[in-house]
Symmetry: C2
């Protein structure tokens, strides 16, 4: 069932002991540049370096001791893997992580540091799913999908809930969209806790499945290309798409160049390390895909797990 | 006269409207690594990206309208230049900035963005001083030295004063040392506001003049080499050295490699962009130059103005 207001409130209470209430920062330089007030919700400073820790922690702590005794399993290009491995460690259970072999080194090392048991696979959805199913059969671990799971969605929703508490009367809230876990959670929290705020998503043009699905109404199950925003290479899920259709106001697409420019602007102006996916909403503002003049805008900075040996500039 | 307690309190009040009360962050990973509690005072998030904004703002706003009518002038490899240009802009006066020609691009651009009038010179102290004297004669601007000035020292002292308010009962406070403006201010604030806290400085081994002066008692006016910590290439001043002699407990030196390792550790663990100079105290901890086990340690992160096209790894 689509998470209710109370479900999100319960998720927030459940994960509270295990996560950071992340700070919100703004930059005078960026505000001047766009003639707007932009507030960055810094999930790059979240435990394990990304908002994904919220959903994973909520899912793991929603399970009882019997349900979780054989561990949890997922496939993830990175941040969900870290968040899940950490949550499993906190619950004293195993985390089996299927990662595409092109995952960034820093994310692989982080999963290992939380005791995650990694199996590498080809970087395709098919390979990820078949590898996962094989291990799941063998171990009887509980699958925690990175986004197509209401416990995950409710967990991710707590980031926007917090932002609304920290920053009143936002005109717009923005999040990037990949599988749609963060976006659907953000949209639900907006609907429940700040219904006057518009929800605007941003997606790399190269993987514009959410944009196409949203405006056609027909679920688009493939992506045409790839993007440097590695967290956004996935397609929407059966649980995230309907929420997005109902509660999101707009989805914009952006070029790869804008993503790099926006990322660099945030690094230089705020001194915060944000990953490529985090820069996608600001890229949409840079590309003038939405009207921001005089608006108060919250942007969820998804994470800060960057491979410092492979920066995109 | 060496700034009194009241002088530092007045400086804090004077600059308050123009600067940020910067946040303090810690990292569980770093704390575990060193079995200590380390608190980073984030002057990288200060206006103009460095603690130097404090001293420059205090100096500029200490002058009356008559004194400041012909502008201010300084030589600086970067952050003091930005801080001074910004303060002059806020006072509606001119800032003449003499910069070594090898200053980083990001710092040059920032000085320009605050309306600073830049003259480049050879990267030697002699060239800096002779160029400055020529312009000073021509313009009658007031010289604001980057560190050998009590108004500057009192301004820099406000960073430690704030940290003691934000973070009670520190066992140790650490700062890097170049010209000694930050260190002498930090030592004074510690003496006045947290006398039970030890002051420990860190300096690159390659430019260890402060270390030599401190332990021999004889002022060392030259440095033997150079360092990637470009803010620390200067020698102590006649006003900073006596304060450091009196109020600092220990000066450690560190290798260039440790500086890079410490910088990268902070970037990856805290998601904060800190410049090379900021990493020098943590480098001393990594090199076990001081006993940190179980200690509560504050480190002043000096700045975040990094040239992203020239990272040291």
């Amino acid at each position: 069932m689509i998470p209710a207001k109370e479900t999100i409130e319960q998720a927030a209470e459940r994960i509270k002991p295990y996560i950071h209430r992340t700070p919100v920062f703004s930059s005078q330089r960026i505000n001047k540049l766009f003639d707007a007030e932009i507030f960055f919700k810094c999930e790059n400073m979240q435990k394990a370096g990304a908002f994904k820790t919220r959903g994973a922690t909520n899912a793991v702590f929603s399970l009882n001791d019997e349900e979780i005794k054989n561990g949890v399993i997922t496939h993830s290009s990175g941040n969900h893997a870290q968040g899940l491995a950490r949550a499993a460690m906190l619950r004293n259970t195993k985390a089996y992580i299927v990662m595409p072999e092109d995952s960034s080194k820093v994310k692989i090392e982080a999963v290992r540091s939380y005791g995650g048991i990694i199996t590498f696979c080809q970087p395709t959805l098919d390979a990820r799913e078949s590898t996962l199913n094989e291990i799941k059969k063998r171990t009887d671990a509980v699958e925690i999908h990175p986004y197509n799971d209401y416990r995950i969605i409710a967990g991710q929703a707590t980031a926007a809930k917090e932002l609304f508490e920290q920053c009143l009367h936002l005109d717009i809230i923005m999040a990037p969209v990949g599988g749609g876990g963060l976006l659907s959670g953000t949209a639900l929290s907006t609907h429940y806790f700040s219904p006057e705020t518009k929800v605007i998503a941003a997606e790399p043009e190269e993987v514009n499945d959410a944009f196409l699905s949203f405006y056609s109404g027909n679920y688009e199950s493939t992506v045409k290309g790839t993007t440097i925003a590695d967290g956004l290479r996935t397609t929407l899920g059966s649980k995230t798409f309907p929420i997005i259709q109902q509660y999101v106001n707009q989805i914009c697409t952006v070029s790869e160049k804008s993503i790099v420019d926006a990322m660099r602007l945030v690094w230089e102006s705020t001194k915060l390390i944000i990953e490529t996916s985090s820069a996608v909403p600001l890229a949409a503002i840079m590309e003038k895909k939405l009207e921001v003049k005089g608006q108060k805008i919250g942007i969820i900075i998804t994470g800060g797990n960057v491979d410092l040996d492979n920066l995109p500039w």
